[in-house]
Symmetry: C2
Subunit: 293 residues, 2 copies
DNA sequence: TAAAAATACTCCATAGGTATTTTAT
DNA sequence: ATAAAATACCTATGGAGTATTTTTA
C-alpha cells in the first residue's frame, strides 16, 4: 500500500475517463502496454478489480466507480494546494501568526490589521494576546511570525521596528498624597506600595520603569505583580498601591484613579519584532502597523 | 508539475514532522542523502522553498507550513479511500443504483429497500423512477445496477428474476357498458377506445396486453398513450376510454372508475433485472425484494 | 570541532518502448 | 477478420546506497 504512486492514479483516471486503454495511453503520451501493466499493478496493490475488461469493452466495477470519485478529488485537492503554494510564497495568501501585548490591542493593532487586510485580503490573520516574554520565545521557535511588544531587551536574531513611543505616567489612587502633585519625581516612589507587571513576563517594560526609578535610587515596595493593565487599574482603584503605566491608560477614565506625568518624561516604546523565518508578508504587516499610528 | 509523486509527499511530511533529515530518513527506512535530494527536487518542481535549512537547524517556511497541512490531508483522504475500497468490493459499502417502474413503488420497492438497508446499512441506495425501456438501456450501459420492471422482453446479457405475478384487470369508466359485466372477455375491447402505456417505453407489458387481446382478434382504438398509472386512471375517470392495468391499481379507489377481472386471467409479472457489471450486492438486493413480497 | 546537510559516484529496479500473441465479436 | 487488450522482452532513466565534503553553531 505504501508503493502506490500518483502516476498510477493519473493512469487509472485516464482509463476511467476513456474506458479504452489505447486512447487513454495516447492521452497520457505513452503506449498501451505499459499502461495496461501499470493499471494491473495498481489493482494488485489495492487487492481489488477496478475494471471489467474484454478486448472489446472496458468498464468500471463498483469499486472502480467509487475509487474514481475519491482519487479524482484527491488529485484536485493536491493541484489546488500546489496552485496556492506560489501565492503563499509570494506573500499574497496564507496565514500570519501575530502576538501582541494587551496594551497594543486598543490603538496600533486594530488599525494596523485592518490596513493590512485591505492590502492582502487572502492572508488569514491570527492575532494572539501574549506577554512580551512568551512572544520572544515563540518568535525564536518560528511559532509566531510577528510580535508586538514593549521595550524588547535586544535579542540576537530578532529584528525590532519602533511602532510608537509613549510617555509613562504615575497611576495613583485618588486618595493618595501624590495625587496632589502636578508632576511626580522618581524619589517619591521610594518605599511606596506599588503594583507592577512581573519582570519575567515584561522584562523590557519593567526594566525601563526600574531604570527611571534608579535615577533617584528609589526602591519601591512591589505589593503585587499582575499581567493585565485592566487588573492593575482595579488594584490601584482599590487602594492597594500606585503604579506606573503607559500614558494611554488614560483612555480608561477609571473612577478612583488619577494619572500624573512623571518628572523627566520617561518613555515606553512599542516595537514590532519579526521572526527570522517569518511569513514573507511580515514586513508589509509591520509597515501597516507603522503607517496607521 | 506532472512529475510530482506521493513518495515525495511522504518524504516531505516525514521531514516536516522531524525537522531533521537524518531522523526522517531513519523513519522512512532509508539513508539521508537520497532524502535530501528528493526533497530538493520537490521544491524545485514546486518552485518554492519548503524548508529553511542550515546544518544545525531545519524549519518550515510559511509555504511549507501550508503545504504540510494540505498534503497531509491529501494523503489521509487517499488512505481512507483505499480503506473503503475493500468494503465496496466486498459489497458491504458503496452505492447501488436502482431503476423501477412507478407501479413498483407501492409494494415491492419500499419493503425490499428497507429490508436490504437493514442488512447493508453502509450501502447508499439511489432509486430512480424509470420506464422499462430506459432501464434496459441503462443496465446494458452499466449506469444502473438493478432494474425493477414488468414483463421484460428477454434481452441477451441481462438476467431477470421474477418478483411477483399479478392479474390484469379491466379499468372502466363507471358509466361504461362493460361495467355491468362481472368478467370481461378480450373480444369486448374490439374497436373500443383504450388508454394504454406506449409500447416503446413498456414493451413487455404492452405486448402482454396485446397478446391477450390477440386471443380474440380484438383490435382496440388507442386514444392515448401515457406513462403513469395515475394519469391513466385520470383519463379513464374522465371517460376518455377504458384501460387494462395490473390488479394492484385497485388500491387507488378512484371515484368514477371501476375494475373488472379479465376472462382467462392474463397476468403481468414484475422482474428484477441485474446488470452484468453491477454492484456486488445486487444479488442480495434482489433477494431482499423477493423475500419481502 | 562536531553534527548534520550537501555533493559525488555507483548500481539496479522499474517505467516505458517495440514486437508479438491472444481474445472476443 | 479485426480491433484491442495481454504478454514478452529490452533499454535507460532515476531512485537509493556508500563514501566524502562542506557548513555552521
Amino acid at each position: 500500500m505504501d508503493l502506490m504512486e500518483l502516476r498510477q492514479l493519473r493512469y487509472f483516471l485516464a482509463v476511467a475517463d476513456e474506458l479504452h486503454f489505447g486512447r487513454a495511453a495516447a492521452r497520457l503520451h505513452m503506449t498501451q502496454p505499459p499502461l495496461t501493466v501499470a493499471v494491473r499493478k495498481l489493482e494488485e496493490e489495492l487487492g481489488v478489480e477496478l475494471f471489467e475488461r474484454t478486448t472489446r469493452n472496458v468498464s468500471l466495477t463498483a469499486a472502480g466507480r467509487m475509487f474514481r470519485q475519491r482519487a479524482g478529488a484527491v488529485l484536485e485537492d493536491l493541484e489546488s494546494a500546489v496552485a496556492d503554494l506560489g501565492d503563499v510564497a509570494a506573500g499574497v495568501a496564507g496565514r500570519l501568526r501575530i502576538g501582541f501585548v494587551s496594551s497594543a490591542s486598543y490603538s496600533v493593532l486594530p488599525r494596523g490589521l485592518q490596513a493590512f487586510q485591505e492590502l492582502r485580503p487572502r492572508i488569514h490573520l491570527e492575532p494572539r494576546s501574549l506577554t512580551s516574554a512568551e512572544q520572544i520565545t515563540l518568535l525564536l521557535e518560528g511559532e509566531l511570525d510577528v510580535g508586538i511588544l514593549r521595550d524588547p531587551l535586544s535579542v540576537p536574531g530578532l529584528h525590532a521596528t519602533l511602532l510608537e513611543g509613549e510617555d509613562l505616567v504615575a497611576v495613583l489612587p485618588a486618595a493618595d498624597a501624590l495625587a496632589a502633585e502636578s508632576i511626580v519625581p522618581a524619589s517619591s516612589f521610594h518605599e511606596k506600595a506599588v503594583v507592577l507587571f512581573p519582570f519575567e513576563l515584561m522584562p523590557g517594560f519593567v526594566s525601563a520603569v526600574m531604570s527611571w526609578l534608579g535615577t533617584a535610587q528609589a526602591v519601591p515596595r512591589i505589593v503585587q505583580s499582575v499581567i493585565h493593565q485592566e487588573t492593575v487599574l482595579g488594584l490601584v482603584a482599590a487602594g492597594v498601591g500606585a503604579s506606573i503605566l503607559p500614558a494611554s491608560v488614560a483612555r480608561f477614565q477609571m473612577p478612583g484613579v488619577v494619572t500624573r506625568p512623571l518628572l523627566g518624561s520617561p518613555r515606553t516604546e512599542l516595537y514590532a519584532v519579526e521572526s527570522p523565518r517569518s511569513h514573507p508578508s511580515s514586513a508589509l504587516l509591520i509597515d501597516s502597523l507603522r503607517g496607521s499610528k
